[in-house]
Amino acid sequence: MIAGQLPALVVVVPLAAAPLVVLVRRPVAAFAIATAACAFSFFAALLLAAEVAGAGPISYALGSWPPPWGIEYRVDAFNAFVLVLVSGAATVVAPYGWRAVAAEVRRDQLYLYHATFCLCVAGLLGMAITGDAFNLFVFMEIASLASYILIALGRDRRALLAAYQYLILGTIGATFYVIGVGLLYLVTGTLNIADMAARLPAVPDLRPVLAALAFVTVGVSLKLALFPLHFWLPNAYAYAPSAVSAFLSATATKVSVYVLLRFYFGVFGLPLVVETLPMPQILLALSIVAIVSASLVALWQTDLKRLFAYSSVAQIGYITLGIGMASREGLTAAVVHLFNHGVTKGALFLLVGGVALRAGGAGFASLRGLARAMPLTALGITLAGLSLIGVPGTAGFVSKWYLVIGAIEAGRWWLAALVVATSLIAVGYVWRFVEAAYLAEPGPATPARGEASPVMLAPAWLLVAACLWFGFDTSFTVTSARRAAALLLGGAP
């Protein structure tokens, strides 16, 4: 009985946990409820993924109104994978927040952090699971509004400005998206994504459809921080509380990538996106600029959190590069990297958060000799950094491997060379950390000897272990990504 309601419960539980947390208020209880809600969603997402892998897509009619009239929650091989990533990241970050956020947020406001976190999780899960284009907008705004608040909780006053800038750009992005959906609704008369895709080919006038494609592309690209629409991201990730940076970098941009893929391949369709319009070429060009420029900017950062934020822009470039190939291998690489980068960057931000808490910041001055003061943290950052570069044996290698294969299959040797060459820039910025932590003598800003609290270290190391695990055992990630790519390209699931 309950199993049939899982698609709704996955979203409803964290959504309902938020007001419950506000009612309860006491920090310990608030923390417990939020963590339990995230864990439940993770469990439900795993069950859904298993069911989808066995029995094919699940369609859930919300309130028993049959689609396309009612809102449909549709779980298939692709978004089940995204659900697992989002709820998994939430479940890892929630316990981390117990100590980390308590140090950064006033105690009497802690319950508000937990409530907002639940809202953000519910919004992102809703974006991934819903089969209704307007419902997606509402969830997008729930997730975005919650993330503006979470970013504004940062200790530095610049967090406020970062949150404000993100609010302006995020709202413009969401509004562009809703304009695109409005145009699609006007020509098709439906909001159900599957129904929309079925009706679009019969639309006689292509012009509104092209306008809709443009609006959706720009709107979602703002949300996923595609170059040159990424300006909100570095400040937002750099000044937000570490738990928030970790969670958002692992999930928020990734869910937006999912939305872009869903619209490109699930609504507009391959012929329109690839043949009528030069979208792959545009994406390829922007991705290459994103990878090269953001990696170079990352090299010159003086703060580790900002460095990793710029590296996020570059890594998102690799994901969109895979989308731009518009081939089975390219999409597989994009979806795998979506997951692997989420895990890697989540681990990095969680570990940097531990440093920032003990040293009062993550500037390179306080990283000098870190390997002696916080050996486990330094080792974790190095290992996750290797995954960021794409060293064999780490998760990052798997994604880059498929990117290179995709490029070679398409006969684009230069692209394969570019992926390898830009990885060398990543070697550069990860090396800067290794040099400071392992080779430099401790300076006055180096924190005193002692690790971060185990409550923070354990979730972070769990993700570091995942970086390594998914580098060796690719059965879950690559199989899911292959299914997703086949689904997007309309092949057998």
Binding site: V138, A152, R158, Y164, I168, T171, I172, I179, D303
Partner: protein, 122 residues
């Protein structure tokens, strides 16, 4: 000319859209940016609602003597969008209040200058 006259609601929509977006980009005052954002979002309400209305159409309640009905769905959608807009504006204003407390200004260039003066990267 007739296309212009019969589609005037679209022209109004596009004008509001462009005005709102222009204000967001061109103004340096954080409050004025939010006002522009509000206008921009409001234009979308019009984009949805205007095509849903039929001249002479009534609310979609089946009754004797009424044959033409307006589409109720856009109205419902926009009710949700208005709530989203209000929430965004409220949160935006709250952040501006906090920024003013922290920086003593709501002008973007002054705030950025204050950040540069305190030694942070921009």
């Amino acid at each position: 000319m007739s296309a212009f006259a019969s589609h005037y609601s679209y022209w109004v929509t596009v004008f509001l859209m462009a005005t709102g977006l222009y204000i967001v980009i061109a103004r340096g005052n954080l409050l004025k940016k939010l006002i522009g954002l509000g206008i921009f979002q409001t234009s979308v309400y019009l984009l949805y609602i205007a095509p849903g209305k039929l001249i002479g159409g009534t609310a979609p309640i089946v009754a004797e003597g009424f044959r033409v009905y307006s589409n109720p769905l856009p109205h419902v959608l926009i009710l949700t969008a208005i709530v989203v807009g209000v929430a965004t504006l409220a949160l935006g204003l709250a952040i501006v209040v906090r920024i003013r407390e922290a920086y003593g200004s709501t002008e973007e260039d002054e705030i950025l200058a204050a950040d540069r003066a305190s030694g942070g990267g921009g």
